[in-house]
Structure formats: C-alpha cells, structure tokens
Symmetry: C2
DNA sequence: ACCTGAACACCGTTCAAGT
DNA sequence: ACCTGAACACCGTTCAAGT
C-alpha cells in the first residue's frame, strides 16, 4: 500500500469554493470542508484563511480578462472592450461579486488592465494628474455594474401608488439580466462619449488654445 | 418610586447603532447592547433583528436627500444635483455603506428620487422603454461611487515595477477623499453629457437623418 | 410592556495530537 | 508534510422567567 494519497491541493479547494459560492451564494469554511470531504482545519494547510481564498478567486477571475492590447486602435474602443470583458468575467459568477467587494483588491491582474488604460489615456492627451480620475470613474462604474449584476431580479419594487411614471417605465423596460446588460452598454457609451468630449474641448472655448494640432 | 423608566426606544437604538458604525465600522448586536447599557436580547423588543436596524438607518440616511424638485430647470442639472446629494448623504457615514450594500433596498425615500428622475427623462424625450436603462446607469454609478467612498485611502497599490505609467499617475493625482470627490464629478459630468448626446443625435451623422431639426 | 440570563446554532481560526 | 478533533472566541436569535 503506497503512501496515503494527498487529499487536498489549492486548485481543488478553489474549484470547490467557487462551486459552493455558485450554488449557495456563500463561502463558509465548514461548508467548503464538507464539500471537499475533509475537516475544516485541513484547509489552513493550503490557505492562510478565508480572505486568502477569496483573493485567489479574484485572481482566477481576473485571468479571464484580456488587458487592452495597445495595438494602436482607438482608445475608447479598447477601454470599452476591456470594461465589457471585466464585466463578463464577473457575470460568470455573480454570487462571487459581494465577496470580492467586501475586501480590498490586492490582485495584480486587474491592475495590469489599469496600467494599459493609463498608457492609452496619456497617449491621447489626458493630463497626468487626471489619469487616475478617469480610471476611478471607470472603476466606479464597473463596480456598480457588478453590484447591479449581483442584485436580485427586481431591483426596485415601487409598492406605493404615487410613483406612476417609474412604475410605467419599469413595466415597459426589459427585466432582469437583459435590463442589466442593456443598461451597462448605454451607460458605458455615455461615459466614453462624455470623457472623449473632455479630451478635445470645443475649438473656440477654454482660455489656452496652445495645443493646436497641425497635422491631419 | 415611580414605575421603572423606559430604557430603550427606536431612536436611541438607531443613534447608538450609527455612532457605533462610525466608530468601529461594524454593527453587532452585542456591541450595540453594550453601547446602550442593556442586554442584547432587549433590542429585539424594538426591532425584528439586525437587518431591520440597517434598513431603518437607510431610511434615515435617505431623508437627508432632497428629491429633484421638478421646477422646470434643466434635467441634467436636476439629476446632477440629486446624484451629488445622494453621494453626500452616503459620505456622511462611509462605514454604513457596506452594510447597506449587503441587503436589498426596500426603503421608499430613494425611490421617490427615481420617480422624479423618471418624470424628468420622459419630459425630455427619453423613450419610455429606455427610462429604466438610464436610471439603472445612474444607480450603478452612484453605487460604485459609494463603494469607492467606503474603500480605504489607497485603492490600488501597484507593488510591481512593471506598472510605471499607473504609478506615475497615482503619485501625480490627488489622494484619498479628494481623489474620490474629483473623480465623482468628472464621471458624473461625462455621464450626463453622454446621455444628453443620445437625446439629440449629431445633426449630420448616423445613417437615418429622418429626424432633422428644422428650427435653429 | 419591557428587560434579562441562559441557551442554541453557527461563524473563523488555533493547536496539540496523530500518521 | 498533511490531516484530524477538540477547543476557543464570537456571531445573531430565541425564549422562559422575572418585574
């Protein structure tokens, strides 16, 4: 009889954790242990604790997102593609989103996307000081959209009769996942158009018109 | 000696809960009871449980937001003002935000704001079917901005050396609360400009120019 | 009607003990 | 090196018992 077989490894633990989150919406050490058929304390030989598991799941999720390729195509297209990819990766496991939101991000993969976006913005004339502001805006929107994705189907249930317009609008609009998808696209377009508008201020406005573009 | 004085009432409980959240960032029944100088089980005579307390705090927070007045002024201005008010109310107690986010909203006060916004959008030509999409977008952005507000001062800490542009941008940008405030305004402006652009499509662009505006 | 203490089921984490 | 059972400190909630 050979040496006792290894019962656990990090991959198996992460698989079980994600499966459990998808199935139950929660992650408890006891539940995870039961799902793995081991004792709860065994898990601590592979992860320092619950938060480390969640952080590893964030990293795994992030590898599914292609960072902007910096291939010379339009920056708005690239940012838009990345944001959509980010959201798609989150949408694959909506129940994971609240867990990700309850602890600060330390994973590197998402940061690479933001680095690429910083390069794009700089290359298109966004002042260095403002780059972080723009990224913050994108991050806020992505985070909010992720929360929206994790929310129950009926987000607002107007119980009162004195909200007639909202009620009509809700019945006329798509519901559930479809509503979230369409809203995300509408908002992302609006955001990018608005930001693009800040880039090239109206030709005959603003005090210093020092940055005239002679080429083209 | 008169009849034993009432030790607890809902207002005192909510005051203590909010003070405790501001001070510690958490809300536990035991901690709340200690702060009130009573037993934990006493609280259940005034609230059905912890979630009911959080929901009452949401309602209290919401009363600090003035809904759009529908006074005939520009819709973008009104929506912008309301979004800023919403965020200001949240910013007064940032530690409350994660607690609000972990349970679905059932409070009515925020819904009144959305009803007013629905009226504004309809009155300015947004198709009924799209009203909910626009409101979803605003809601996503407000939610994300709230999360950003609750996040620690340093949101992204690029530990690696291969993120030079992001690192430079971070050192050049404002930090902490100031960064969050400026970013919120930049994004809100961009969002509203972008949405406004959808309302009146570019005069000489897009395939069908069927909706030409003769005036002007 | 309001408050209490004890109890319950459930968390994450630690650690001495086994193999 | 890896796994276990028992224990610990801490959750939210319930309930019979007091006044």
């Amino acid at each position: 009889m050979q040496r006792r077989k290894r019962l656990l490894d990090t991959e198996a633990i992460l698989d079980a954790a994600l499966a459990g989150i998808d199935a139950t919406g929660r992650l408890t050490m006891a539940g995870l242990a039961a799902r793995l058929g081991v004792s709860a304390s065994s898990i601590y030989h592979h992860f320092s604790g619950r938060t480390a598991i969640v952080e590893a799941l964030r990293e795994r999720m992030a590898t599914a997102i292609d960072p902007p390729p910096l291939d010379g195509s339009d920056w708005g297209e690239q940012v838009g593609r990345w944001m959509r990819g980010y959201r798609r990766a989150l949408a694959a496991h909506p129940a994971l989103i609240p867990l990700l939101n309850e602890q600060t991000m330390t994973a590197g993969s998402v940061l690479l996307g933001y680095e690429r976006i910083a390069v794009l913005l700089r290359g298109n004339g966004v002042p260095l000081r403002e780059v972080v502001l723009w990224i913050s805006v994108l991050d806020c929107y992505a985070l909010g959209a992720a929360l929206d994705l994790a929310a129950p189907d009926e987000v607002w249930r107007p119980e009162r009769d004195d909200l007639p317009t909202l009620g009509d609008a809700i019945t006329a609009a798509p519901r559930g996942r479809e509503r979230a998808d369409e809203a995300f696209d509408v908002g992302l377009d609006a955001l990018l158009t608005g930001l693009r508008g800040r880039l090239t201020p109206p030709l005959a406005a603003g005090p210093p018109a020092r940055r005239a573009a002679p080429g083209r």
